[in-house]
């Protein structure tokens, strides 16, 4: 481990991997550290990702694809199911990955491109000189060492402490932290080409429960509800267990994971002097679906490109790194985050009856060539009762 790099990346998830990979390819010296003993485990994800989105970064490989998904089904509280084909179903429909292999592959690519990678190495404090972030003190098997860098990229995911140690408030409001639990279940009857989302106050209040196919007879079955909805006697795990009992009583649970998924707005600013924040640490998770793999990769790649440019110009001040913040906010990703935040805030106001109404109004619509605004207009036309509910949303999206 050297003690000086152009770029230090903290966290070996998809965001950190893309940052390290991109930076190494652009000729920077890069160090990626990951506090866990292995990349990609434990998985804290339902593993759904859009096909096109993924292809932007690398060619799909059967080694890390568990299922090829062709449709999504949204199941309303009364059982009304709305089926969407993969083109309109959003970024979590396409493939269900095997992230244990996928994350490892991404870090592998970074290392092949020249990045130094250290696992079981945890950032414990930033190095800050005259207000400028200059790297991090890291701990490896009990030993501490300083790694200095011209730019430090915080890719430390949902639990993100690094930016906070640098003086940036990364706290997620309780109601916007999705409290999640998921089982990998085998030996069950499922549609191996569908990702299903269940809604309703009995199933997942203000959240959703997912059944993502993982093969012919296996699925990731999980739930996310706002942390503020957890009650001592009825937490996320209780909702999931109840669903399992009703729907898959004989399924065999071979893995169990827990996690937090932030569905708040992104951080107000994702750069400071010598520091860039990406992925879940920057809170760029889709507020509706909780999906963040694609956005982590996008922000990771963009941050590294801008960092490399700043380094070669000899200026890594906040101002010089600011194009990263501006660019992702004005990108398709940034605009989608803003729009979907408003849609999410609207959806959580709908009770079961309204969700049922909405699902029934949508049944039969051809989604393959309809925009969000077009869809809202169509719903109002089919179900004028929804006008009042949807008017606020339509105005917000204009």
């Amino acid at each position: 481990m050297k003690s000086d790099y152009d770029i230090l990346v903290i966290g070996g998830g998809p965001g950190g991997a893309l940052a390290a990979w991109t930076a190494a390819r652009s000729g920077c010296t890069v160090c990626l550290i990951e506090k866990r003993p292995a990349i990609g485990v434990p998985v804290r994800c339902a593993e759904g990702v859009g096909k096109e989105l993924l292809r932007e970064y690398m060619d799909p490989d059967p080694r890390w694809i568990s299922a090829d998904i062709r449709r999504a089904r949204i199941v309303a509280p009364d059982g009304t199911a709305v089926e969407l084909d993969e083109r309109k179903a959003g970024a979590e429909v396409g493939y269900v990955l095997d992230r244990k292999i996928f994350d490892r592959e991404l870090v592998w690519k970074a290392s092949e491109a020249g990045a130094d990678v250290f696992v079981k190495t945890r950032a414990v404090a930033p190095i800050i000189e005259e207000g400028v972030v200059k790297g991090a003190t890291v701990e490896f098997c009990g030993e501490r060492k300083d790694i200095r860098a011209k730019v430090t990229i915080a890719a430390d995911g949902v639990e993100s402490k690094f930016a906070r140690w640098c003086g940036i408030d990364t706290t997620v409001p309780l109601r916007e932290m999705m409290s999640c639990i998921q089982y990998l279940v085998t030996d069950i009857d499922i549609d191996p080409h569908s990702n299903d989302f269940y809604l309703g106050s009995d199933v997942a209040p203000e959240g959703y429960l997912w059944v993502f196919a993982k093969g012919e007879r296996s699925a990731n079955i999980g739930i996310g509800i706002p942390a503020s909805k957890n009650r001592p006697e009825m937490r996320a795990k209780h909702y999931l267990n109840r669903f399992m009992k009703e729907h898959y009583p004989d399924g065999k649970i071979i893995e169990c994971i827990f996690g937090g998924d932030p569905v708040c707005r992104p951080l107000p600013c994702t750069v400071s002097d010598g520091l860039m924040i990406i992925g879940d640490a920057a809170r760029v998770v889709d507020p509706i679906t909780g999906g963040g793999i694609g956005n982590a990769m996008y922000t990771g790649r963009l941050a590294a490109e801008i960092a490399a440019r700043a380094i070669s110009a000899g200026d890594t001040s906040k101002e010089a790194l600011m194009p990263y913040d501006t660019e992702w906010r004005t990108s398709k990703m940034g605009k989608t985050l803003e729009r979907n935040y408003k849609v999410k805030e609207f959806f959580i106001t709908l009770n079961d009856e309204k969700l049922n109404d909405l699902a029934r109004s949508i049944e039969g619509i051809n989604f393959s060539d309809i925009t969000v605004m077009g869809l809202l207009t169509e719903i109002i036309k089919r179900n004028p009762k929804m006008l009042i509910e949807l008017k606020g949303l339509t105005n917000a999206l204009k």
Binding site: K35, P42, R44, R122, G157, V158, E159, S160, K161, R164, T170, T171, V172, P173, L174, M177, S179, C180, I181, A227, S228, N230, P232, R235, A236, K237, C256, I257, F258, G259, G260, P262
Partner: protein, 59 residues
């Protein structure tokens, strides 16, 4: 004070990001609480999908 039921904790980090004081951190396979920062507000106890955290009156 904050009690962590380590036999229940799933090492997921949901509680870490909601703590307004930054008192929690995942270190190796443990959730650790910095008692000098914790104000026993109980916010983290609500975020846990498993019920692994509890605020008690003990000092």
């Amino acid at each position: 004070m904050l009690n962590i039921h380590r036999e229940i904790c799933g090492y997921c980090g949901a509680c870490v990001s909601v703590c307004p004081e930054g008192a929690l951190e995942l270190i190796d396979a443990w959730l650790s609480v910095d008692e000098s920062l914790c104000i026993a507000c109980g916010i983290c106890t609500k975020a846990c999908p498993l019920g692994a955290l509890e605020v008690t009156d003990e000092e």
